[in-house]
């Protein structure tokens, strides 16, 4: 069947599903760089028009990346659940969008959330391409994904945070100072997660022990993670280190994952190792994944059927299929990190952050976002504010925060700890329940439940500051 759409008197043809998906994608620099973007605004809408009439079930029969050559495609199709898919199996992509919005408006979280095992990344990506930003928020906030290890994440009315205490040389005291600063501002309920400056097993073990000691000493209901390569974490597990979470960056094609040095088997092995430690108290989700639009393109691993470039948003959704296979505690897109050749300006980053959250949630992931930017992108703090508040409204599982918006190790800007407080207070959101109770025990909350602005001689401040004094 020929797929043609007419807009403004012009008829556009989309010979393959790969091209249809790419041309229906809202404009972003990465797709222009890859050579797959629509060549005009009219062609983009024509593609969206054709996509809206495509039966959702098409994606089970026709692939964007081939089944035989790519293990992500095989994972998606081999684990597809036709029973979960049944309620929407007869819909087109456009009808599916409408149905999701109707369920969201009615507050029917179960109808939306139970679909996850029946949805493929391509179905979800296609649907997002027809949605406005507000649609992505409205459905995202009604998609419920709850996970736990020592804190419970994803409950309604909650917004958690990753406390990211990076240091250019992994100095224990420097890392501890940033941890204390974050805890005093009510952050760290999703994870205290460090990007190590070097990927050595010994360094990873030392950092794991450091955070484990802080968590243990103050009885903090959260988990630690050192975001080393999965093979390094395997070595740390062998050494008996206190590993709460196995971390890995993942992407949406087999060659892109090969570029990251990971296979599905390796991830399964590491997950089994962490699970065997039994370190959870309220749940047993022991993996953490990061993703980001453009990662496959930057590794020249972005091609699909016929060698055609696949758009970066579809590939990003495919990365979520990898992540969900390993029952993660948390997943986040690092949305503005990769640079302006993939997401050029605030408009593109904002859109991508909302798409990623929506697609991840709909596929069943506990989705968070690193709201961030680099200095050569056309992005500033105001753009970040808009995205963080929209994500808060969208029911985002967690946001990443660093001291004063400035990551002094990775050299990019993320949110400040106080931005998490702003998002919570503006939108009436609270920390994870176990962490909120801990904040109260530490006398860090006022009578209204807000994180106090402390003087240094307050008992809680004294106790935590002691951790940073040597």
């Amino acid at each position: 069947m020929r797929r043609v759409g007419t807009v403004g008197g012009h008829t556009y043809e989309f010979p393959t599903l790969v091209e249809l998906m790419a041309k229906a994608t809202p404009l972003r620099s990465g797709d222009v760089l890859a050579g797959c973007a629509a060549e005009s605004a009219a062609e983009r809408v024509a593609a969206q028009t054709v996509l809206a009439d495509l039966p959702l079930a098409t994606f089970l029969d026709e692939q964007v990346v081939g089944y035989d050559e790519d293990d992500v495609t095989r994972l998606v199709l081999d684990t597809h659940d036709p029973v979960a898919f049944a309620p929407v199996a007869s819909l087109t992509v456009g009808e599916f969008r409408d149905r999701l919005l109707a369920w969201a408006a009615a507050g029917d979280e179960a109808a939306i959330s139970d679909l996850a095992p029946g949805l493929t990344p391509e179905m979800v990506a296609a649907t997002s391409k027809l949605m406005r930003n507000a649609d992505l928020v409205a459905v995202g906030r009604r998609t419920r994904v709850v996970t736990g290890l020592r804190s419970t994440l994803g409950l309604p009315g909650r917004l958690a945070s990753r406390l990211q205490p990076n240091h250019p040389t992994d100095d224990p005291l420097g890392v501890t100072a940033s941890i204390v600063d974050g805890l005093l501002q009510g952050c760290g309920d999703a994870v205290i997660g460090i990007n190590p400056a070097t990927d050595s097993p010994a360094r990873t073990v030392a950092l794991l022990q450091l955070v484990d000691e802080v968590i243990g000493r103050y009885g903090i209901p959260t988990q630690s993670c050192v975001l080393a390569h999965v093979t390094t974490t395997l070595r740390a597990l062998e050494a008996g280190a206190p590993v709460d979470l196995v971390f890995q960056s993942v992407a949406g094609t087999q060659p892109a994952n090969r570029g990251f040095g990971v296979t599905l088997d390796l991830l399964a092995e590491a997950r089994a190792g962490a699970l065997a430690l039994g370190r959870g108290t309220v749940g047993s989700n022991v993996t953490y994944f990061e993703t980001g639009q453009g990662s496959a393109l930057s590794a020249d691993a972005h091609r699909g059927i016929g060698g055609r470039p696949v758009d970066q948003q579809t590939l990003e959704a495919r990365a979520y299929a990898v992540a969900r296979h390993f029952d993660p505690l948390i997943v986040n897109t690092v949305v503005g990190f990769i640079g302006p050749e993939y997401l050029y300006d605030g408009k593109q980053v904002l859109r991508a952050g909302l798409e990623d959250h929506f697609c991840g949630k709909l596929l069943g992931l506990p989705m968070g976002v690193d709201v961030c930017y680099t200095n050569h992108a056309e992005v500033d703090e105001d753009d970040m504010d808009a995205l963080m508040l929209l994500l808060g409204a969208a029911g985002c599982t967690f946001l990443i925060a660093v001291p004063g918006m400035d990551d002094v190790m990775l050299h990019y800007q993320s949110l400040a700890f106080s931005d998490v407080l702003t998002t919570r207070s503006v939108l009436g959101l609270r920390p994870a329940p176990e962490f909120e109770a801990w904040l109260a025990r530490m006398d860090l909350l006022d009578d209204a439940g807000r994180v106090r602005e402390l003087t240094a001689d307050a008992p809680a401040a004294r106790a935590l500051l002691a951790a940073a004094s040597a």
Partner: protein
């Protein structure tokens, strides 16, 4: 760490100083409600503004020429016509603009000074580093210096090939960070031609006196790498393995 955890709060007027002394991260900034206090907010903006301006300031050829009197200098442009295109199309920044002509010769070395992501780094450090490097290369024939606009590292491959040079060294403005808007990087490639990949290059980064590497330090390293590359007839990973160890921080 347990002794540190147990330590009492040190006396002093500002107990938060404990945190500030432990890291360069922006800790203990205080709050205005649930936001940053005005002074801390403006400090951040000033750092971001310096980084933004470093990216968008145009490369000033007259300034570089004036800093290098007596050095023959040729200007080229990449295929990226403006800054916005350059930032979105790294592929165009690696190609020479159509119709670019360079004098083909038989030099040992071509040196390219490229704006990259920080023209400011070129204005502040390129002349000093070029001078220090040329002093360390007696016996090397060097092609006319090339000043490249809207350039990525790999533009040096096209320039080196066009000049007929056996090696190319690209001095390029690095992506500005909040605390380092003027950092210059150096990339060495033996046998330059389009299609060379990153693993075939050696890199010395963070040339930025007085905070980063000094010109003599960086020039010593690059000259040693060039000597080793000439012996081996190759650069990149192979050279790093067999050649002299890079100094700490030279990346």
């Amino acid at each position: 760490m347990s002794s540190a955890l147990d330590a009492p709060l040190p006396p002093g007027d500002d107990p938060w100083a404990v945190l500030r002394a432990a890291t360069r991260a922006r800790v203990a900034l205080g709050r205005a409600g649930d936001a940053l206090p005005t002074a801390r907010e403006l400090e951040f903006r000033a750092a971001h503004a310096a980084a933004r301006d470093a990216v968008h300031q145009p490369l000033d050829p007259a300034l570089v020429r004036a800093q290098l009197p007596g050095v023959e200098l040729v200007e080229v442009h990449s295929a990226a016509p403006d800054r916005a295109t350059y930032l979105q199309r790294p592929d165009l920044g690696r190609q020479l603009a159509e119709g670019t002509e360079l004098p083909r010769g038989d030099a040992d070395l071509a040196v390219v000074v490229a704006d990259g992501l920080s023209p400011r780094a070129v204005h502040e450090h390129a002349a000093g580093l070029v001078t220090a490097l040329l002093e360390r290369l007696p016996g090397w024939t060097v092609a006319p210096l090339v000043l490249a606009h809207q350039a990525r590292v790999a533009l040096g491959d096209a320039v080196g090939e066009a000049l007929g040079a056996r090696a190319v060294v690209v001095l390029i403005g690095e992506r500005p960070g909040l605390s380092s808007a003027d950092s210059l990087g150096v990339y060495l490639t033996w046998g330059p031609r389009p299609g060379r990949v990153d693993s075939e290059r050696n890199c010395v980064s963070n040339v930025r006196p007085p905070h980063g590497l000094s010109y003599p330090q960086a020039a010593d390293t690059v000259a040693a790498l060039l000597g080793a590359a000439r012996e081996l007839g190759a650069s990149g990973v192979v050279l790093k393995d067999e050649g002299p160890a890079l100094p700490a921080g030279a990346g």
